[in-house]
Symmetry: C2
Subunit: 339 residues, 2 copies
Amino acid sequence: MKWYLETGPEGDVVVSTRIRLARNITEFPFISRMTEEQGQTIIKNVKDALFSASSAAADEFEFHEMEKLTPARAMSLAERHLISPQFAKNKKGRALLLSNDDSVSIMLNEEDHIRIQTLMPGMQLRQALQKANLYDDLLDEKLHYAFDENIGYLTCCPTNLGTGLRASLMLHLPATFQTGAIPSVENAISKLGLTIRGTFGEGSDAKGSFYQVSNQITLGVTETEAVENLYTIAQQIISQERAIRETLKKQSLQLEDKIYRSHGILKSARLLCADEFMSLISDLRMGVTMGIIDNVSLETINSLINEMQPATLVAGAGRKLDAMGRDALRASKIREKLV
Amino acid sequence: MKWYLETGPEGDVVVSTRIRLARNITEFPFISRMTEEQGQTIIKNVKDALFSASSAAADEFEFHEMEKLTPARAMSLAERHLISPQFAKNKKGRALLLSNDDSVSIMLNEEDHIRIQTLMPGMQLRQALQKANLYDDLLDEKLHYAFDENIGYLTCCPTNLGTGLRASLMLHLPATFQTGAIPSVENAISKLGLTIRGTFGEGSDAKGSFYQVSNQITLGVTETEAVENLYTIAQQIISQERAIRETLKKQSLQLEDKIYRSHGILKSARLLCADEFMSLISDLRMGVTMGIIDNVSLETINSLINEMQPATLVAGAGRKLDAMGRDALRASKIREKLV
């Protein structure tokens, strides 16, 4: 079962937790300066390390040479945050190890030789870090990581030096957004070494009020400190979101109207573009978490958010689709799921 | 059963037929110059004439002194085209005889002493005229109508001189409207002695694309000629509307999307104002007549159009309602009817 078909702790606000570790192998130069052969050797070494370290891994993971994936399939992986958009666009000399439940992905020859990523539903920072550490240790046994006693892990980009850790939470903040409080959140957390940005869509345009909150500091802190810091600050954002939702609930008729309409359109439309879908599903998600809508599960919503993204839809269709065909397919798949 | 709970001929485009006869009693001066007592005598005489002429009439008709009606009740009658808006606003010295099924209304001391009006579903010009003539003859037996051998019936306003007849069809022309062809219809029929105007809303603003097409000429033509003329021209407007609907059907995905969304919002919304309601029900009506929506009857739609108008809603609620209360009541009543 895919990881996102379950709802995790604090699921009313926290959609998912993501941990990413950046690692490099000491025998090889950084990506920018290595040869094609060296790149292939890295891929082979990591793959062998994973599959020899654990007999289960061979069943659990699929290995993909990125160049063999169709553009839609590659973009679909990026949409679901299993790989970076850059990794999807520039596939040459790159490979991916992906667990069957989509919860662990190991990108090879991205910005660093190795990027281990774990995904979990809801707020599970410690658990996701633990899981990432497990694969990290497993590879560490067979490979020689570039590591400095004083600095920590050596990475291609200095912003990752030290822990090489990026911890992120995907938060659903429709109430905070509605009251115009996102900029003040942004301002407050940037002073605490965190960033917030829209999960879907480019730049500050946060489609459906889904936000990614991540740590920025990797140097001079331990993994645990970084994760604890993110946890503490996220708790405040979550509390504020819940408080605003409660306030909105008191002026409930307009809110209910908006939520029921969005639900009604999702169940009725014959054409739905990605942007409108994100906005409607955001309303519906808020309605479900607030107990206004009771015949739709959070799991259904979370899986729709994952599966209705443009490239994922196209990759699943297995045929060419123009924009209208995609919007029609999206609408029809949503109607199947939302009875 | 109310007349509008049935669907008549050509119901896909023709919502209803209305016939109105203007009559005056020869012994009394026109409204503008008569005394209050004369007005009361007219009311008494017409009421007695109707109730004595037919024993059934006493059971079939309710008599209302307009001043005894609440403003909401009076406005509700106007919304349902049973009386004129002026008659609802200025109630002094005026009375109404209204049949139980709302298909016959006799306004007393409106612009003329007597205005007999019949309403029927769909295209039923001859039948509605026949019915109006029946009540006209019935009153004519007991009263002395102001009538001139050369001119015909004498009316207060010269525009009604002659037949005193106004025949109207309420047409639903969403496709004609969508293609921007209403002005050309307006232009063409004005040359043929007809007018077209929005049924709901003021002036040229036709809420929900419902239009009233009426004859203008009353002098020098017979009732039958006037009605035949309206019938012939209406047939052309109807054919054009149907042809455009067929064309739209070929680009069906966007049309279907629009119709299903409107249906979805009507079934889901918690707040619906009158304007939005008219626009959504217009889409739904088009969808039903085009066979796109098959689980809603035209009768349900026609009754909603009648019953969801602002004053009718308030009159039915039997309690004070602010704008939001009215919009909430409208939304809830619509959800009951559209399962």
